[in-house]
């Protein structure tokens, strides 16, 4: 099932896919795209690795163990953008800078609090996707090894039965 072609293309595709995810998130403020779709794309990049290489190989990628915790980080970032304005006496989710004002820029990137919210959404979706996929993969792996063990034990029993 897993040929060399799959393996090579999966490996080559990982970084470009993550870059596309970043692009989708950044351009989301003027064109279609946002943190949610970026999160899905980034999680799909890891799903591909998982399908081709299996959970063991995926765990060797740097920082992958901490990705599921991104859900909490993302949730807290998003909640902060919602609730910090209310601490400062405005309504929930009041964004900064207010409508009509110009935002600080870095190239074409504009820094507004809506971006922080979207980064939070990205982290939630990405962390959830990778976390769920890898925990399913691990459960599946565990089941397979235990099934193999049972089969091997049965085979050994059968042999023992044949010799006696």
């Amino acid at each position: 099932m897993t040929t060399e072609l799959y393996k090579v293309s999966a490996r080559i595709l990982l970084l470009p896919t993550l870059l596309v995810a970043l692009g989708v998130m950044v351009k989301g403020y003027a064109d279609p795209g946002d943190g949610f779709s970026a999160g899905v794309i980034a999680a799909l990049a890891f799903a591909l690795q998982l399908m081709v290489f299996g959970p063991g190989e995926l765990d060797r990628l740097p920082l992958i163990r901490y990705v599921p915790y991104a859900v909490f980080l993302g949730l807290i970032i998003s909640l902060l953008t919602a609730f910090v304005p209310s601490v400062m006496g405005q309504t929930l989710f009041t964004h900064w800078p207010p409508a009509g004002d110009s935002a600080p820029r870095f190239g074409t990137l504009e820094f507004i609090t809506a971006v922080a919210f979207d980064v939070g959404v990205f982290l939630i979706v990405f962390g959830f996707g990778v976390g769920v996929l890898s925990s399913f993969a691990r459960a599946e792996g565990r089941m397979r090894t235990s099934e193999e063990r049972v089969a091997r034990a049965r085979a050994a029993e059968g042999e023992a039965g044949n010799t006696t």
């Binding site: 909490f72 949730l75 909640l79 609730f83 209310s86 309504t91 929930l92 989710f93 009041t94």
Partner: protein, 458 residues
Amino acid sequence: MMELPLGILWFGAVIVAMLDGTRRRNAVLSIVILASALVSTLVLGADVYRNGTQEMVVGGWEQGVGISLRIDTLGIIFAVLSQAVLLAALVFETANGIKARIFPALVLFMGLGLTGVFFTGDAFNFYVFFEIAMISAYVLASYGETPRQFRSAFIFIVVNLLGSMLFLISIAALYHTTGRLDMVGIKAQVPLVAESPIVLISATIFVAFGVKLGLFPFHFWLPAVYTGTRASVVAILSGALANIGSYGLIRFGADVLPRELEFGAPVLLILGAVSIVYGGVQSISRHSANEVLAYSSIGQVGYIMVALAIGGEAGVFAAILYTVINGLNKALLFLAVSMRGWLVGTAFAIGAFSVAGVPPAAGFLGKLVLFQAAIEDGSWAIVVLVLLGGGLSFLYMFQLYRRRFWIAGEEEEESAHLPQVIVVGMAVGLLLIGLWPQPLLELADQAVLGIMGTDTAP
């Protein structure tokens, strides 16, 4: 600070989710978070009671454009009730030893979802918070993680996902016909659009909430789930989560779609009556304690339907009161029946009196206002029905009491002290409401005033 309870619960739930809930320290932290949310809700409630409904449109958008939070007395009553039941169940489970690390976080997330449902003024946002509460409930239903609990969780998830989907469809349809998602806007638009689509939508909404409540033709999932899950989880499902159903019917029926509620009153009356009789008769014929109580819940929501069917201010008033008292009854009974000891037995008896409607327990008050509403309406059939239902519930509650607390099982020993104290505290609360009902009556009166616009005599 009308968003404070939501903020406390939301941040608290995320923080507790990161910790191991089986450790006592973390469980106590979650109790502190839930208790402070309850206190802030009470403070907010006092403010709402004095100064009237509070409203905020999120993000500084215009009314009707942004999502709005709208807190009136009805929302406060339901939020306080649900948070109190959740708190009791959480303390109960902590005292018995929490078995899953995610349990306290799930209780907080459910508190968040319920509080959000009761505080929102936007139909779609209602659905979002509703799903937060439901998803926590799906996971909670499998708490204990034995095959039996997984089986009942599976039934619960499948049936309630169908209910949620119906509700989502009806919100989409409401938006399509009225062009609004804020409840105030929908309420204003409904009389201006064609009647037939709205009637269809109302029927769908009714079915969706009927499934949550476990009303007669939609009740089939309820006994299987309530007998399969653990005591604290059943208390949460029946005392806190089921409030979504009755709140939804009161909010969408009496508040947003009053004309359609009146139109559907005969259906509600028949279903309510069937629920009362069916629940009562089934309860008498059952033997396992949780099964009796599960069928009893089916019967009890029948009264809420009958109250709504009577309609008018008196009917809605009775429906609110009955929901509050029923939620407390059920939480108390489900917790008490899982334990042993004479203190718990006494608490159970008080709860049983309350279900049967015997003074001075709070249930008497619920039956009384229902009687008043029925007599005011001049419908003697309902009076007879309520009497009959009361008789049935008296019978099955004391059958159960006798089986569970009089005939002592030799193999079972008395339960730990702290859980007993919680149950007794809830029983005392029920007695207090029965003996000094004035605050609750006034609150319910103001809630009706907020919905229907004019005053009502309690």
